[in-house]
């Protein structure tokens, strides 16, 4: 087992097609982040003023929810490598809970904005804030749907210690959703 781990592979774990897709997604997010940063540079006052209206406590909880969820996905993969399907299923269920917690908290935040009449056209800051977080929000939904499929497949016993490429691929997508938020959180909520 130890030897196997020390051999390096040429391609990342999971399906290469998915990694190409991840690259494309990351490229979109990178452009969005750069656009935010450069637009902010010429509207610093406005951005600082409205950044202060955001709820950083919820954002913190959201970050932790995504991290925890990612953690459970990794745990599920480790379990499947030991052929512990039951345990793996449980871990995947917990990671779905984490994703859903994110959705619920984010929706609370959105409904708060909506009650204040804030939308994409309110001002430049909110345009970016809503565009970026909503684009990410939809990725979380997609990610949860992927996790659901993985969960069902694991429960059916489709993955084994030797064959769990699907699980690793889906997991990689979910980590991508997580790591994008790790940039989003400081960039939009805290950096000034």
């Amino acid at each position: 087992m130890y030897i196997q781990e020390s051999i390096k592979t040429k391609y990342p774990p999971g399906d290469l097609a998915l990694w190409i897709f991840i690259c494309a997604e990351l490229l979109v997010f990178a452009i969005f982040f750069a656009a935010y940063a450069f637009t902010r540079a010429s509207n610093i006052e406005l951005f600082n003023q409205y950044q202060a209206t955001l709820n950083t406590d919820l954002a913190l909880l959201n970050t932790i929810a995504l991290l925890t969820s990612s953690y459970f996905v990794v745990s599920a993969i480790i379990s499947i490598k030991e052929n512990k399907q039951k345990q793996s299923t449980r871990f995947l269920f917990l990671s779905i809970i984490g994703g859903c917690a994110f959705l619920i908290m984010k929706m609370t935040e959105y409904s708060h904005h909506m009650s204040e009449g804030i939308n994409l056209t309110t001002n430049l800051f909110y345009m970016f804030y809503l565009s970026l977080t909503f684009f990410h929000f939809m990725h979380v939904i997609l990610g949860i749907m992927i996790l659901l499929v993985l969960w069902l497949n694991t429960r059916k016993g489709l993955y084994t210690a030797d064959n769990h490429d699907g699980l690793v691929s889906g997991g990689a997508y979910w980590h991508m959703v997580d790591l994008v938020w790790l940039i989003l959180f400081p960039l939009i909520y805290i950096m000034k």
């Binding site: 097609a17 897709f21 494309a24 979109v28």
Partner: protein, 462 residues
């Protein structure tokens, strides 16, 4: 040709080429009107020539897509066409409807045509590319649905491959998004916004699925590369095309009254739109390099490679050049758009239809695999003449566009539109010259069908 019913495609291909010639003739008329303003005035005013030019393009490409489907679907599904009779009938319906519409444009004033066809009952006429009388539009829907029915039932009863599924998806999308052409609200902003749901989601959406699946078919046949590999690429390319192209619609919403956030969403996603075209180029060259057979039909391979390169240049590079909002602010509605449009349509859609015609026609005309060497040489000449002259048309229009932007919008003392048009006349003359060469290339292409001789065989490699 493996199945008898594939031969209905021949009708469609012949009509497509015929209409293509018509399209180019009217293109030349318009080009001349750009420099000799009173040419054919008032018999054929510019707007009429333009309608004929653009509508013929759409109609002949549709003929090409339908012919391609009728040819490749039976072969892929490994079964005869569901109803060859229906395919022939719809061919004549579509041809007659198309011809009547074009004659209507040419023979009566447009307003009279609107009156005659009862446009006031359901006003849909008079919008760019959707100028057809409402009754013609309804005809198009009927033809498209019948065609879809025929293709879908052929696929259902036979083998289902990725190529046919993607093609079917593209064709279904084509029919569905055309329905937006019946929605013409009084509010101009909404009118323009939803107009793009036809135009953009066609040419930068579902048509790309059709194009990619035809390209994949031609590559499988001419390179002998494993279907599995080609199908994987096909999926990834069209996935990227839709991922970038759907939100990429936003690059049309910058200045037509849609909210400001489209400047960002549209710029970001359309900046990524060259990616699928780039992948397509890499894909085509990769497959040809990995080929396991040397197919004797060289022009077909040439067209397939050509479409991959020219689509990337025309749609990808020329599109990217003016898609970012700060650039588009100055270039929107200038000759730069025209330059991009010409090369993109030629590269992505004209060439793919010519590729499948080039591949399929010899077999439908009773040859084993390809035309004689003499005919192939002429066809390859026509390829280079048309392609190079299209590159020049694009370059001249780009030159005209850059000058136009500078003189009319950017300089300290902006000049009026008509004054600028006179100043850039030289570019229009050169464009017209390149257009003439294009016509010569096209006529050579037609001529290549009439060259006989011994069929080139597989051993007969160059």
């Amino acid at each position: 040709m493996k199945y008898e019913s594939q031969s209905v495609a021949k009708l469609y291909f012949i009509a497509a080429i015929g209409l293509f010639v018509g399209q180019i003739v009217f293109g030349l008329i318009m080009g001349l009107q750009y420099v000799m303003g009173d040419f054919l005035f008032p018999e054929i005013p510019f707007n009429v020539a333009r309608m004929v030019h653009t509508n013929l393009l759409i109609v002949w490409l549709l003929f090409g897509f339908m012919g391609a489907s009728y040819y490749l679907v039976p072969e892929e599904a490994e079964t005869e066409l569901h109803s060859p009779m229906l395919a022939k009938l719809m061919f004549w319906v579509f041809l007659v409807a198309g011809a009547l519409t074009i004659l209507g444009y040419l023979l009566v004033p447009y307003a009279a045509l609107a009156e005659m066809t009862g446009n006031h009952l359901l006003p849909t006429m008079g919008r760019e590319f959707l100028e057809q009388p409402t009754i013609t539009k309804i005809g198009i829907v009927i033809v498209a649905l019948t065609f879809l029915y025929n293709i879908a039932f052929t696929i259902l009863k036979g083998r289902k491959t990725v190529i046919t599924l993607v093609l079917l998806l593209g064709l279904a999308g084509l029919a569905i998004f055309f329905l937006f052409s019946f929605y013409n609200p009084d509010n101009l902003v909404k009118d323009k916004f939803y107009w793009w749901f036809v135009v953009h989601l066609w040419v930068e959406g579902v048509w790309e699925l059709i194009m990619a699946s035809i390209l994949a078919f031609v590559l499988i046949k001419t390179t002998g590369v494993d279907r599995e590999i080609i199908e994987k690429w096909l999926y990834i390319i069209i996935a990227m095309a839709l991922i970038t192209g759907l939100i990429g619609t936003g690059h049309h919403f910058f200045w037509i009254g849609a909210p400001e956030y489209w400047l960002w969403w549209g710029s970001i996603f359309s900046a990524l739109e060259p990616i699928p075209f780039f992948m397509m180029t890499v894909f085509a060259f990769n497959m040809v390099n990995k080929r396991r057979i040397n197919h004797p039909n060289q022009p077909a391979v040439l067209w397939a490679l050509g479409t991959a390169v020219m689509a990337f240049l025309g749609a990808g590079v020329w599109g990217f050049m003016h898609t970012l909002a700060p650039v588009n602010y100055y270039t929107h509605g200038t000759q730069i758009t025209a330059a991009h449009g010409h090369m993109a349509f030629y590269g992505a859609y004209v060439m793919i239809v010519l590729a499948i015609i080039s591949y399929a026609m010899p077999m439908m005309r009773g040859r084993k695999a390809c035309n004689s060497a003499a005919s192939q040489i002429v066809e390859m000449w026509s390829f280079w003449l048309m392609t190079i002259s299209m590159v020049f048309i694009t370059l001249f229009l780009t030159g005209a566009g850059i000058l136009q932007v500078w003189l009319q919008r950017f300089s300290d003392e902006p000049m009026s539109f008509m004054v600028v048009q006179e100043k850039i006349e030289l570019f229009y003359w050169m464009r017209e010259g390149a257009g003439l060469v294009f016509l010569i290339g096209l006529l050579l292409y037609v001529y290549s069908f009439f060259i006989g001789g011994k069929e080139r065989t597989v051993e007969d490699k160059v």
